[in-house]
Subunit: 233 residues, 4 copies
């Protein structure tokens, strides 16, 4: 019998980066100095000026490619971001691996309040234990049915239709830093955002991991983003 | 106990249309006659010329809005089309209805051949009967577990993570006719396509319904699309 | 000798509209009520909520098509807005009309202050008179040279290369209201903008005219845009 | 008196590249093998398969940034390509340099035939000499008037409105290889194109230079593009 695996985390592997803080400045300076923009100058102030005044286009010259593994319900939200390039694995062409998401112990999962005003709170530990077992039961059940259908010659694209939304899938994603900041402004949660956002926990963890590599490679751009209220320029 | 419903079809309701064959011609003529382009002239020949020579931009001035209801595995493919506007219902904010897709009796579901070269063939009727019952069993099972979780106060956005990919969801979609022709060239199946495409059956049925209203409202553009090998201009 | 015409205004003719305040609400409600979203409800509050919280996608279902006539230096800025559809007349295929822009008497044209901090002030009337005559002289000179080249059989696409940036050109433009609000936030000038913008006067006049028809057809969306600091959602 | 310079060529400097043939294959393989797609395999055949069958998305993971210097009438066509990132120098913020385009001796400039069917032929050498002198005369005239206006304190954004379309301007451009192939399919001229295109000579020279660096960095992708009739995937 196939072993079914459970994870509560996500893989966010940076594959490649093009451009950096200095490239943004060069691209911005071309508007005021023309072809001489390759000369360097003070960068932090210029980047902050661009961010604050929402001159967004220079930030499109930083590009990042990731390989990301996340459950389908995360990908569903992720792919609403249209200014990005995606290649995702296809359950039409391959049998999906038996890897499923379960909430980790720190995931607040009890909903309180009324529509438009609820918050999520941490449930009692026995409820968490029950919930995880309940989810795992479904995954075992569904994956074994999926395998049985494939074993009977059912087309993979049909066999997969009752796979659950928490099965993992992998994709290549390329975004420029302007698109990334838009993603982060909507899909991560921070007290100091000028426009507060209420993303689902799981995509915000993916977003946090993307933000970490972004901050590492373009520290001045990232600082300016944070210092100006996390508003996408 | 909640009644679970099964469908094998999709809802594609045209909500609104802007522009038509004549608008495409007006937009195209502006390049050769300027602001006088509102004068009318012979349209079929001009549209065919634009299509054949892949002058695509005039086709962006025909816009259509649909309300579409389809299973999530169809939406997953649909939303890879980025030059479009979407608003879909959210299982974070509402409990999804118990409506699930099962293949209809005409859906070829047995896969034959090897990777890259398979075809789908109609299975024996007893296999079809078994498959439908097998899928229905999963849906009953999963929806009752979904309801039980919600009944125990689990956040909707967590409770839903083992819902299957064949549950139905609804969305507003707005596309221009250039984006639509790109969609149709990739997501419908026609012998006479210059670049053959192998879409999953279910999205091709959605595509066929969209194409029907497109052909009705912009017959000359649609004719030119078909007569030029269904190549998106 | 060809008569050369001078204008200080711009033509912004609304050709068509699709969608309105109510459509935005329907598209937004689908996320919380699914396919029942066609039911009507109170709209102003919902639209304000969407705008304030930057839920931008429902605003993509209002679409507007314009025929606009403006000088090339305005089109150069205009076409930096990429989420829009354009068909402009082409000086490769037709001889451009002898119509040129001159600043109107209310156009502040004297630059004061240093880079990054200048303002424009109204010059003395004799300077204005001189400036207009100076510009007109260039246009007469250049258009007659343009015509002479064409008369000698020079290809139109070559003959036109010394036409000046203030010659008028016409285009069809289709934008959705989200793209339009982004355009207005950057290309019009208002005291009460959360993020102040410093557009060139001429494009701001075009923007004001577009805004007028937008406000007329989607008054609740426009009100919410204005009341929330003219921030594009 | 300011020296006015004339050029017949264009600067196309490659600033940076991200991704290559192998990246395209990795991104494509993720659909059939999931997260294991980093394993290498035979690339040429896969790339040709993707190109021929118009599976375009994997080509979005090759990105290139250029610094390009070209006349404004070239930029006007260039910027119609919306799936790209631009930062161009601004005549609102800086005085443009006195550098202008004149056709080179190999530029066919006489138009023969009727609308929709003309060709350009090489004119007699005395016509060419006249044409170049005629264009140069305009540039001297206009640049000196531009400088005089600026000298009188006229705002740069107003002073520049009679500058001609053949003045040079510089911009940073970032495109992915899918957008680039669309650009090349429309803006370069090749006998073996499946869909023939009739670009203006000057932008085709810019396109040829871009294509050269593209072919150098992603030779298998470029080969597949050429071998499949230069159809953008």
């Amino acid at each position: 019998m196939t072993e079914v695996l459970f994870r509560s985390d996500f893989t966010v592997s940076l594959v490649d980066v093009m451009g950096n803080d200095e490239r943004v400045c060069q691209a911005a300076r071309v508007s005021t100095v023309g072809a001489q923009s390759l000369d360097t100058g003070e960068s932090g102030g210029l980047i902050n000026f661009l961010m604050k005044n929402r001159h967004g286009s220079p930030f499109e010259h930083i590009l990042m490619t990731w390989m990301i593994t996340a459950p389908i319900f995360v990908w569903r939200e992720y792919m609403r971001h249209r200014i990005a390039s995606y290649n995702e694995q296809s359950a039409r062409y391959m049998q999906l691996e038996p890897v499923f998401y379960v909430p980790g112990p720190d995931r607040a999962f009890i909903q309180e309040g009324k529509p438009g005003h609820y918050t999520f709170v941490q449930g009692p530990v026995e409820d968490y234990t029950w919930l995880v077992a309940d989810i795992q039961e479904d995954c075992h059940y569904l994956y074994s049915k999926y395998e049985r259908r494939i074993g009977r010659g059912i087309a993979k694209e049909v066999a997969r239709i009752t796979l659950p939304l928490n099965i993992y899938s992998s994709a290549y994603v390329t975004m420029n830093s302007r698109g990334l900041m838009n993603f982060l402004s909507l899909r991560t949660k921070h007290e100091d955002s000028m426009f507060p956002s209420y993303p689902q926990h799981e995509i915000s963890v993916v977003g946090d991991q993307m933000e970490e590599s972004f901050a590492h490679h373009s520290p001045l751009v990232h600082d300016a983003f944070v210092n100006n209220g996390r508003v996408c320029p």
